[in-house]
């Protein structure tokens, strides 16, 4: 749905995005990166607010810059938090709908639908100034999806939400993703991202560092052998068996936790080896791989 071909963008001499090529399809995709990594630049390129300096950005095969055809299929939920505070949530969304060119009655109908989707239908009559962070985010989402866009872009949508609000908001997003929409979410809180999706785009200093599924990305990081923590009744025996295998880089006993930490280049063979040992009576009672999560993948990629 979205395609970037060698897209670069510079602000004067400041780097925004540097030679990024990728495709974004349906489902939830997380846009990760530190502050200034180029997340907002990418969002602005896709929404046609700016033009790439070099390269192309295509949304449904068209250039999104100042292109109403594309805008009709895009919904943006920016991270700024300023509203006309005296309006009610419903009035605000209706005004946004009218701005999009919908007629009065149609606007009302569509807004009602959108409010139901984000779970704000009953609460939208109160003025915005009394809303909690979660309610504000939902209203922002509602205004972004009145026209039922194919692509939704959300900039830091979970910031400041409490756990209940966050869970509810994620459920809303998951529901939309199941309808086949493309949802791009930027965030720098990794565990939130992990709950939403395994599909990531990792930007670092303006360049695309990794794109795809977290587990498959992890598999490809060779410089950092997988760490695997094991617990076993016969811990030292297990350790001496492990070090015999050629693909084990190191094995270290943690006397405090009474655990063995193994580092291996080929996790697959290692797990098979453990099954062999179980046959011989050395049964592992705990296997944990602290590396197989987004946080360590992020750390390995960004800090290497």
């Amino acid at each position: 749905m979205i395609e970037l071909r060698n897209a670069s963008r510079w602000y004067g001499e400041v780097i925004g995005l540097n030679d990024v090529s990728c495709e974004i399809g349906p489902g939830v995709t997380a846009l990760l990166g530190q502050n200034g990594a180029g997340k907002s630049t990418l969002m602005r390129l896709v929404t046609g607010q700016i033009r790439p300096t070099t390269g192309d950005v295509l949304v449904f095969g068209e250039d999104p810059f100042a292109n109403p055809n594309v805008f009709a299929k895009l919904g943006l939920c920016p991270d700024i938090d300023s509203f006309p505070e005296h309006l009610s949530g419903r009035d605000f969304v209706i005004r946004m709908a009218r701005l999009m060119g919908l007629g009065a009655s149609e606007a009302k109908r569509k807004v009602e639908e959108a409010l139901v989707t984000v779970g704000m239908a009953e609460r939208a009559a109160k003025p915005l100034k009394g809303y909690s962070k979660g309610m504000r985010q939902r209203i922002k989402l509602a205004q972004a999806m009145i026209h039922d866009p194919e692509i939704l872009l959300l900039d830091e949508p979970l910031n400041g939400l409490d756990p209940v609000g966050r869970r509810e908001f994620m459920d809303v997003l998951a529901g939309l993703a199941n309808q086949g929409k493309s949802i791009i979410v930027s965030s720098h809180i990794l565990f939130e991202v992990e709950q939403m999706t395994r599909s990531i785009l990792l930007l670092h200093r303006g360049r695309l560092l990794a794109a795809g599924d977290v587990s498959s990305i992890r598999e490809l990081i060779d410089r950092h052998p997988h760490r695997i923590r094991l617990r076993c009744e016969r811990l030292r025996e297990l350790a001496s068996e492990c070090v015999k295998w050629p693909f084990v880089v190191s094995a270290e006993i943690d006397p405090l936790a009474n655990e063995l930490e193994v580092r291996t280049k080929q996790a697959d063979l290692f797990y098979d080896g453990l099954a062999e040992l179980a046959q011989r009576g050395i049964v592992v009672t705990m296997i944990q791989s602290p590396d197989n999560n987004l946080e360590s993948v992020y750390e390995y990629l960004v800090e290497a």
């Binding site: 609000g165 797990y271 046959q279 296997i287 944990q288 960004v302």
Partner: protein, 304 residues
């Protein structure tokens, strides 16, 4: 001796009751304060700071009465606010030293302490720079430094990782963990990001609708009945579930390629049975852990 003990505290703002008949003994160590928006967390923090005139009930913080001895309480307490705050036009050192003087340290001592805590919070050479030029991560650190400068016995941290990127968050959590273990400082962490609490705190307090809903150790809160085991497979296989049941294990649920099973005997026996089942089903076991709820699940359960 508890750090704070509150008995039957009721706080009203006009007709709104923020805390009703609230009792709590805050233990030493690192405690997490959880609750959705509007649960009364803010009011509770204000109470600890000695700002609240209770409608009924009362309590003590660090042995001082909350209604009458606010000043004495704040002498022994450090507060790191959620919002970004500093005093304009000052370098980090003079800002923190000033904060120390406000807390009653003599000028020279304040300056010495300022250097000490800035060193500890990792501000290094940047400490001579004007705070106005600081990045988000540095501002978080300086907020922590100004809360520590007078050597408080109780530290209140309100959303300490707010706005930090993954690396900064990691470093901040390490600091919080360090300060609350073996340094003679008791810490109360208030955060919407439950993994932060999970990493730093030994115990959590859950507030909901102005009442205390739970006070437990993190480990207990996460424990599941009957200690089931989560088995991570390379790919999901229904054959494995049958095989496991044939081995005498009870199937509970499967999420992705993680299968939750309930064993009958010891952990080692269950593990042996799991390996047996995996062998007969021809699947690879990649993870084997005692099933736990995430703190988030536990939290959502408590408040519902």
């Amino acid at each position: 001796m508890p750090i704070a003990s509150i008995q039957g505290l009721t706080v009203r703002y006009g007709s709104f009751t923020a805390l009703s008949d609230f009792s709590l003994e805050l233990p030493e160590g690192c405690v997490g304060l959880l609750g959705p928006n509007g649960a009364g967390k803010t009011t509770f923090l204000k109470t600890l700071l000695g700002f609240i005139k209770p409608a009924s009930g009362g309590g003590h913080v660090l042995g001082f009465d909350i209604a009458r001895q606010g000043r004495e309480i704040r002498q022994g307490l450090g507060y790191m606010p959620e919002q970004d705050c500093h005093i304009p036009g000052m370098s980090a050192v003079s800002f923190v030293a000033y904060a120390g003087e406000l807390a009653g340290l003599p000028r020279n001592q304040a300056l010495r302490r300022a250097h000490e805590v800035l060193e500890y919070t990792g501000l290094g050479e940047a400490r001579y720079r004007n705070v106005d030029t600081y990045s988000t991560g540095m501002r978080q650190r300086i907020k922590l430094a100004q809360a520590l400068v007078h050597g408080p016995k109780l530290l209140l941290l309100d959303e300490p990782t707010n706005g930090l990127d993954p690396k900064g968050r990691q470093e901040m959590l390490t600091l919080v963990r360090d300060i609350s273990h073996g340094k003679g400082v008791n810490v109360l962490v208030c955060s919407h990001l439950l993994p932060d609490i999970e990493r730093t705190c030994d115990e959590v307090v859950v507030l909901h609708q102005g009442r205390l809903r739970a006070q437990q150790s993190v480990t207990n809160l996460r424990l599941l009945d009957g200690a089931p085991i989560d088995v991570e497979l390379r790919e999901f296989s229904p054959v494995f579930i049958h095989a496991a049941e044939a081995q005498g294990l009870t199937y509970i649920e499967a999420r992705g390629h993680v299968v939750r099973l309930q064993g009958r005997g010891t952990q080692e026996e269950s593990a042996a049975q799991i390996y047996q089942a995996a062998r007969s089903a021809g699947v690879q076991v990649r993870g084997l852990t005692l099933a736990q709820r995430s703190l988030e699940e536990a939290f959502l359960e408590v408040i519902q």
